[in-house]
Every structure is written in C-alpha cells, then in structure tokens.
Symmetry: C2
DNA sequence: GTCTATATTGCGATAGAC
DNA sequence: GTCTATCGCAATATAGAC
C-alpha cells in the first residue's frame, strides 16, 4: 500500500465529489473537476466508477453518512426540543456557505430531479432519513401531528436556504433560525 | 405578416422557454428543445437571440410578468390577510405540477446560481418583487416585523415545494398550505 | 492496478444559400 | 427575414501502454 493510495482513491473521489458537487452543481461539474480535487488522474476515475452516475451516487451516500453522523451527535442531547434547536443552530452556523452554494442536500435534490437516471430517489432516501428523525423528535414531545411539524420545520429550513442563496444574504438564515427556535419552544410549552 | 409569424416568433420562443425550462431544467434543455416547443427551426433561434443566455433571460422576464399578473389579481381582494391566503391557495392549487417539476421560480433560482453568467441576479430581482409585495401585505396588517414574516412565508412555500418535488407528494404542499393559512389568521388576530 | 491518448457524442454557435 | 448545413468545442467514456 503506497502513499498515493492512502485513504483509498475511491473514498477520495467520493469525498471530493461531495464538495465539488455542492459548490458547482451536478451539471456544471465535470469528471475532470472531481478528479483534480481528489488528486487523481482523470482517466483513472473509470477504474473506480463505471459511469459518472455511479460516482454521483457514491457522493450522495457519502453525504448521507455526514448527516447520519450529525444526527448521532444530536442524539446525545437531553430533550427533543434541545435536539431540534441544536439542529437549527447547526444550519444557521453554515449560513455563509449556504449563502454561496445553498443547502447541500436541497440543491442536490433539486438538480437531480431534472435528470432521467434514478439518482433523485437516492437523495430522497437520504433526505427522508433526516425527516423521519425530526418527526421522531416531535413525536417524543407528545405531538400527534409530528409528521406535519417535521415537514414544516424542514421545509422552513430548505426555503430559507434557497432565499439565503438567491439573495446572497446569510442573515436571512440566521434570522429564520431564531424564529424557528422560538417556534420549537412554543410547541414544547403547549 | 404571415400566419407563421403570428404572435411573433420571439414571444413564442420566450413563452415556450418558460415551460420547457421549468419541466427539464436549464442545463438539460437544449435550444433544439425550446425551438421544437415553439415550432421554430433550430438555427432560426439565433436571429432572435444572440446567445442561449439571452433566451433564458427573456424567459425569466416572461415568467416575472406572470407573477406580476398574479399579484395584480390578488390586489383586488379586500384585506391583506385575504390576499396572502389567496396567494397560498394559489400555490397549493399547483401542487401536482410542483410535485413533478418543483416551483418554477425556485428551481430556476437554484440552477442559475451555479452558473457563471449573471442570470441568477435576474431571477433574484423577480423573486424580490414578489417578496416585497408579501412584505407590504404584512406591513398593511400593522406588523413591524413584516420583512421577517415575508421571508418566513415565502421560505415555507419554497421549502414545501422542494419537499413536494423530492418526495413526489402533492399532499405535502396542500397540508403545509393549510398550516400557513392558519398561521396568517393567527397573525391577523394578534 | 495506474495512467495516457484518443474515440465518440452532443450541443452552442456560425456561415451563407435562398 | 428565414432556414440548412456545418464548424468547433467540451465532456464522457474507452482502448490499450506501462
């Protein structure tokens, strides 16, 4: 195992793809862009991934693992409302990156929907896992309408991320985050 | 003026572009796709638009006029909360189309952000006009935090449209629409 | 297993006939 | 003004040398 294969080129490519796809979007990103970011020769990509679609799929799953790790960290907090508010604070903490490139999950979902391949189903699954977890938190708060609340919270973030990106204004996401925290508190009290 | 130039090929092209760009996305749409939809020969497009970007720009402005017309119709309603609720109902009424292709404005904004040209600023202006109008309605309701509320309402819709599209479930937008209507009512009463 | 050189394709854009 | 034929380029994918 030489130094150049350290960490595995396949993993390097998938990891670089997550970053570059977020910054440039799926359509504007070439295999050369990802290969350069991963420090792997262009033609070599096809040894690890048969098609561009397979590399994108690996990137989506890698991104899904990031989200799973985040959820795992949130689980350590004491109450559901603390966990949800920490989730919102995490989103607000990425407001600068979001202003530049949008929400990684949301932009991916929007773009992949326009393609013929089935990759939009893959992002939908990743997004669905996080949405289910949010629903679980509201359910733990004793809310019968947990699903509807989960959709509302997640949609509020996704929309705020889109506006933040469109108007290049990180403050929008921060302000909306504070509003959502107050909203979560109000639900916990009722 | 022959029959084939009726309505103007330039207008036909811009109008067809609005539809096709919504359905297929900017990147997947070729000039040939738009020309076919407008029933205009491919090469002829360049007589009316010097570049693909200019055609997209014309499509954005055409879409902006649609939104302006919608706002004009809403203006005829008696109270700000009626106008805002009618806006939400209009969004919910497009839930099937939204499940298939997403919000026309939001998907356009997300995609154009990834491009080098300045077209993302053009969509931002169009979206900004609608956002300003919503803000004006909340202000007319006597709310000092009108801007924040406008962002919250618009973001809630944009996010719900994204989830509706991602999960291919029109019901999400309908349910979220009802929640937003109750929210508007609660603001009017306070 | 790794990398280079090249085949292939599809699209934006242009030249120029009518 | 309208349309056809084609150029040029960029990007995916492959063949095959090392």
């Amino acid at each position: 195992m030489t130094d150049s294969t350290r960490a595995g080129k396949r993993e390097r490519l998938a990891g670089a793809a997550v970053r570059v796809l977020h910054e440039q979007g799926v359509e504007k990103t070439t295999l050369a862009d990802i290969a350069r970011a991963a420090d792997v020769p262009v033609g070599n990509v096809y040894y690890y991934f048969k098609t561009k679609d397979q590399l994108i799929e690996a990137a989506i799953e890698e991104h899904g693992h990031h989200l799973d790790d985040m959820v795992e960290a949130l689980e350590r907090l004491g109450t559901p409302q603390e966990r949800l508010k920490a989730l919102v604070q995490g989103w607000a903490g990425e407001s600068d990156l979001t202003a530049r490139y949008g929400c990684p999950t949301g932009t991916l979902a929007a773009e992949l929907d326009k393609r013929d391949d089935g990759l939009d189903r893959t992002v939908a699954k990743v997004m669905g896992r996080l949405l289910d977890w949010v629903e679980g938190q509201f359910a733990a708060m004793g809310r019968a309408d947990a699903r509807e609340l989960a959709v509302a919270l997640f949609a509020a973030y996704q929309g705020a991320a889109l506006l933040t990106n469109t108007f290049r204004d990180p403050g929008l996401l921060v302000t909306e985050g504070r509003r959502l925290e107050r909203w979560i508190d109000s639900l916990a009290r009722s």
